[in-house]
């Protein structure tokens, strides 16, 4: 659509080539700005916003079991088809007993989790007791709700241990907040759910649970192009969180499916 730019043309002749040029130097050029070279002027801005907005290309998961909460995530950041980083920290340490996972916009998640950490600390100072996981997730959900429709992209899980025991909440940029026992968020989440749901039991030891979490992340990274890098696994117990492992998923693949030397059916003979 050819834009009608006749409004930018001025009928006033530009005086000042030659004499009196010093006086008119400042006003010699007609005020104008470059228009973007595109056929679709109205739509290009929306398209550029869509391009930079990440589509939650990640796999994160968390589940509650007998010994607390297990939290795991991959570490790949992608911009469309380009892998921008294989070493992103997607499990954010809000405070020593609460973790948040990152899916969606990295900047949004990091900023709002940091902000949540500040609010939690202020709550502790004002009330002389730690904030509950329910309270922390409600603070985050209310904050995100007040920004709804403005383009924030946050799909996070808040996992922690408070007076009532282990707690796990899913919070997203639409202001939704769900309490649950098992969640997985991101483009690889359906794949992770498949492994997580079939292997889950409430009565698991910490080793079994961490193995289940690691396996679920690995299977998701295998099938989902936007997930990969390193599978990190954290455990939240009554004393707070600890990082259990961080394994490269490429190496995990050969650990789970080692290459077996195939028996040769036909052996090529050297031509004598």
């Amino acid at each position: 659509m050819k834009l009608d730019t006749s409004g930018f043309e001025t009928s006033m002749p530009v005086i000042g080539f030659g004499s009196n040029s010093e006086m008119l130097d400042g006003v010699s050029s007609v005020p104008s700005f470059d228009l973007p070279r595109t056929t679709d002027f109205d739509g290009f801005q929306k398209k550029s916003v869509e391009m930079v907005k990440p589509a939650k290309g990640t796999t994160t998961l968390a589940f509650i079991f007998k010994e607390g909460v297990m939290v795991a995530a991959d570490s790949r950041a992608s911009m469309g088809g380009y892998i921008s980083s294989q070493s992103v920290k997607k499990i954010i340490e809000i405070n020593p007993y609460m973790l948040g996972t990152m899916a969606g916009g990295a900047a949004d998640c990091q900023f709002w989790h940091r902000n949540l950490g500040i609010k939690c600390r202020l709550h502790e100072l004002a009330n002389k007791r730690r904030i509950s996981v329910s309270g922390a997730s409600k603070l985050l959900a209310n904050m995100l709700y007040s920004y709804r429709g403005m383009g924030l992209s946050v799909g996070t899980m808040i996992a922690g241990w408070d007076e009532t025991g282990p707690g796990l909440y899913y919070v997203d940029n639409e202001g939704g907040r769900l309490k649950g026992d098992r969640f997985s968020v991101g483009s690889g989440s359906p794949y992770a759910y498949g492994v997580l749901d079939s292997g889950y039991k409430f009565d698991m030891s910490i080793e079994e649970a961490s193995e289940l979490a690691r396996r679920s992340i690995y299977h998701a990274t295998f099938r989902d192009g936007a997930s990969g890098g390193v599978a990190s696994v954290y455990h939240v117990g009554p004393q707070g969180w600890t990082k259990l492992s961080g394994d490269d998923v490429g190496e995990l693949h050969y650990h789970y499916y080692p290459v077996a030397p195939a028996t040769a059916e036909h052996v090529m003979e050297e031509a004598a």
Binding site: Y170, E174, G175, G176, Y200
Partner: protein
């Protein structure tokens, strides 16, 4: 995809809602309680966008409690319904809430009542109402079998008929439902209708 429906019987009102929390193709949770107890004798069954549903119903609940604290008297169901509709209408042309609500309540003078409030602030006092894709199946079932003097057992039979119809005819039917009732003894949970039991114990 979210199915909410309800009806008024002889001195009681029943509402049923599905309990799935869905995000695109993923079912995050199948035991999410979407029927909020507003006060001792009122229920709000809400369906709509995740953030709006919880935030708006909690807002209504807190304001209803505030009225009771300030004035020493609870609001009637009609007053609460009109307040809710007013809030939706005020927000409609600036920052609309995408929530559909069925409000059920019991008052001593008015008896049991059911109010249909949709996302563009329509308000109707009804005998039976429904929202969502499930409404296509439950409304006609209720129209056919409903009578105004039903007992609780007959009403629950009708609710189960509607749930069965939704489960058998809706292509992506929600697996589980929760049923709540309000009568002169108050608002309380009646039961759940589960077709998919989660591995863990239900933690709502």
């Amino acid at each position: 995809m979210e199915c909410v429906f309800g009806l008024v019987g002889n001195g009681f009102a029943i509402v049923a809602a599905d309990t799935s929390a869905v995000h695109s193709i993923l079912l995050h949770k199948n035991n999410e309680d979407k029927i909020m107890v507003l006060d001792s004798h009122k229920l709000i069954a809400a369906s709509g966008e995740p953030g709006d549903r919880v935030q708006f119903t909690e807002y209504v609940q807190k304001n209803v409690s505030l009225y009771q604290f300030r004035n020493g008297l609870p609001l009637t169901t009609s007053a609460a319904a009109n307040f809710t509709r007013g809030e939706l209408a005020t927000a409609l042309r600036k920052n609309p809430y995408s929530v559909n609500i069925l409000m059920a309540g019991y008052d001593k003078e008015a008896g049991a009542s059911l109010y249909y409030i949709d996302y563009i602030a329509t308000l109707h006092k009804v005998d039976k109402g429904a929202f969502g894709y499930g409404s296509y199946f439950s409304l006609s079932t209720m129209d056919r079998h409903y009578r105004s003097d039903m007992t609780v057992e007959e009403a629950i039979e009708l609710v189960d008929k509607c749930i069965l119809e939704i489960r058998s005819r809706l292509v992506i039917a929600p697996p589980n439902f929760v049923i709540k009732i309000v009568d002169k003894d108050g608002a309380r949970e009646y039961g759940w209708r589960l077709s998919v039991n989660d591995v863990t114990t239900a933690a709502v």
